[in-house]
Assembly symmetry: C2
Homo-oligomer: 457 residues x 2
Amino acid sequence: MPAADAAIDALRERIPSSPILTDPDVTEGYRRDFAKDPDAGRPLAVVRATSTADVQEVMCWASENAIAVIPRGAGSGLSGGATAVTGGIVLTTELMQDIEVDPVTRTAVVQPGLLNAEVKKAVAEHGLWYPPDPSSFEICSIGGNAATNAGGLCCVKYGVTTDYILGMEVVLADGKAVRLGGPRLKDSAGFSLTKLFVGSEGTLGIITEVIIRLIPKQAPASTVVGTFPTVADSTQAILDITRVMRPAMLEFMDRASIRAVEDVKRMGLDVDAHGMLIAQSDSPGADCSREVEFMAEAFRNNNAADVFTTDDPEEGEAFAAARRFAIPAVERKGTLLLEDVGVPLPALPQLIERIEEIAAERDVLIAVIAHAGDGNTHPLIVHDPNDAEETARANLAFGEIMDFAISLGGTITGEHGVGRLKKNWLPSQVGEDVMDLTRRIKSALDPQNLLNPGAMF
Amino acid sequence: MPAADAAIDALRERIPSSPILTDPDVTEGYRRDFAKDPDAGRPLAVVRATSTADVQEVMCWASENAIAVIPRGAGSGLSGGATAVTGGIVLTTELMQDIEVDPVTRTAVVQPGLLNAEVKKAVAEHGLWYPPDPSSFEICSIGGNAATNAGGLCCVKYGVTTDYILGMEVVLADGKAVRLGGPRLKDSAGFSLTKLFVGSEGTLGIITEVIIRLIPKQAPASTVVGTFPTVADSTQAILDITRVMRPAMLEFMDRASIRAVEDVKRMGLDVDAHGMLIAQSDSPGADCSREVEFMAEAFRNNNAADVFTTDDPEEGEAFAAARRFAIPAVERKGTLLLEDVGVPLPALPQLIERIEEIAAERDVLIAVIAHAGDGNTHPLIVHDPNDAEETARANLAFGEIMDFAISLGGTITGEHGVGRLKKNWLPSQVGEDVMDLTRRIKSALDPQNLLNPGAMF
């Protein structure tokens, strides 16, 4: 492709300080995110942008040459939002990692490549806290968090990424960089464009900076853990808790997840239980122990065995870590198709029950973990990609779970985004009229369809 | 206008169950919102919609006849967002007042005409709380709150309207009704269209239902009040507090506001003080008294006299009510041009100082109240509309305050919206590129410019 080569050479001249990778052995590592999309293409190049100005140059160049640009954060996405396309380039913001914390306004200006954990650490030095905590917080970037409106474990009380993004700088399809919002807690001037770009998965622009809202550091959390003889008992305990109080965490693991974690970690988890709940309260003072005792009582009222409470944050964190470890633990049993369906809370028991049936019907292992307090579940569908027949069954289960979540008034994705893996289900969730609205906005902002083509639509 | 009359007659036949008012004596009451826009036009009719289906019919009819539609909630807006235009109609949702509370998912489905206070009351019956609390909460509607992304006093801790809107039903320019979002705490499926419509001031669609997020009822608040010898002392106290903790309320009144309230209420406020702060903590248990004592200490450290604390919620509410009463109290001195500028917190002292200078330079009374904890101020510019010269000076001050807020990295509107009164300043706040982006979205969704033409743009 000499024309393409010439175009890449021209790009090199325009952005001398941003590395451009073209060696196929190197670009191979940028073809897929954690969704391991089997349909990933081969990019012309990978641009490791080092500045907003260079991202602007890339988009000007892409517009002139009609070349698709796949924006990429840390590549930890789970829906194929950063899958490379043949003939396009991948633009990663992984090298852009500055952060400036302003403790007086309790905000920080952050470049997109900084990892979520690094953001948390930098603001903690000022006694501040950035709540959103995807399980992947040690390896996912704040830019990717903003692009997917990422969630996490504490969102049940503290909200999701969009609740903490006050403003951003974003490079549009035509190469213009605009500043949206700012370090102001209140701003009703014009459309809420910041909020529109959060969760737009790189299809409307490339986020080159975010302004995040911070809150005073979290009080030490107390934890309650319990195992249940049936899934129904554990989901009833969830409802008994959430109708009265807001836990700082309320996580569910089913038997397959418990066993997968216990296989590796040897924590002494009850491998005969059908459900485990891990809940936390971070309310201050006496309220904390009152809330933990209330939750422990809700566990016991629903037949929990081994109800364990602790006010030692490290001991509590060990259980949260076990829950976060569930995905890698289950992954040892095979390749995962990772679901992210959510439903209104009262429908949670129905959803988990139906997932068990689908696993049986399709004869695949499905381990279920859930941010149970907000109705967001992660069924992990295990399969061997070299077994075409099993893979086909896993894919059927993947679709059936989304179909069922939609039928319950739920969502196909609570926090991972639509990407390429779930886009065929988006119309049946939101309806054709909303798809039309979505396409009109996309066309208005990216008429050449240069930005992340194939994702979401 | 026989053609217009015929069109209205045709509309009557299409929506027999929604009253259509055409008597000029009656429609007069719908020509302006609380901004009292002097340029208000004379509408062909006022439609009091009673259902989503009728709003759809109205928009189909408006599209066919190219007639502008001014959406209107309770008419309590302060930026002229609901000013009528000649040749158009006003569509008010004031008759749509249903609410359905779901205590298990802690959400409510609400029609737009229900007043904010009525929403609070309905959910309180289930032990729940809808936080956003504009000072006008007893007379403003939830639909208008959503359309302007309204704020209030508790937003410093609890966030603004957009943080509580999980979904909505909205009628588009072409008459289609779409459902966005839903009763799910997490949803990353597709663009965040719900958030785009919040704060779009009726220029993109007509909100016919909102799904709001509720939280458990607020703990009883303790209050601390203090008066300061200088504005600078009070703003320093604000910064000393917000850098450490999150009060549940942190309100400022300047001397002119204190005096205006005292004139009417006779509460014994110190009319020689140059600033008064009213702060609250609603943290549970011992944390509440600890926070109140911390704030009282910050007051004293900044030369406050008469620092008064109370854990009696009713006594505290009397001070909050005094603060909310400041606007009507100042209004007794003349007609108000009501500002809503916000700045990053450290710039608050500069802003208030400059407002005092502008008042002196332009020889108009400007009383300043502020949601000080989030940097959002309401300078109230008093003038006599029958005095053309004074009105001109007031208008100059109005613009100069916005210009100065913009120069400090602030916003022209923290919570009231742009409407018609502030639209000339929007481009200088957000820049031409963002205006272009905004116009592209507006054109994509409302190509005929039927929805609230003249507002925001």
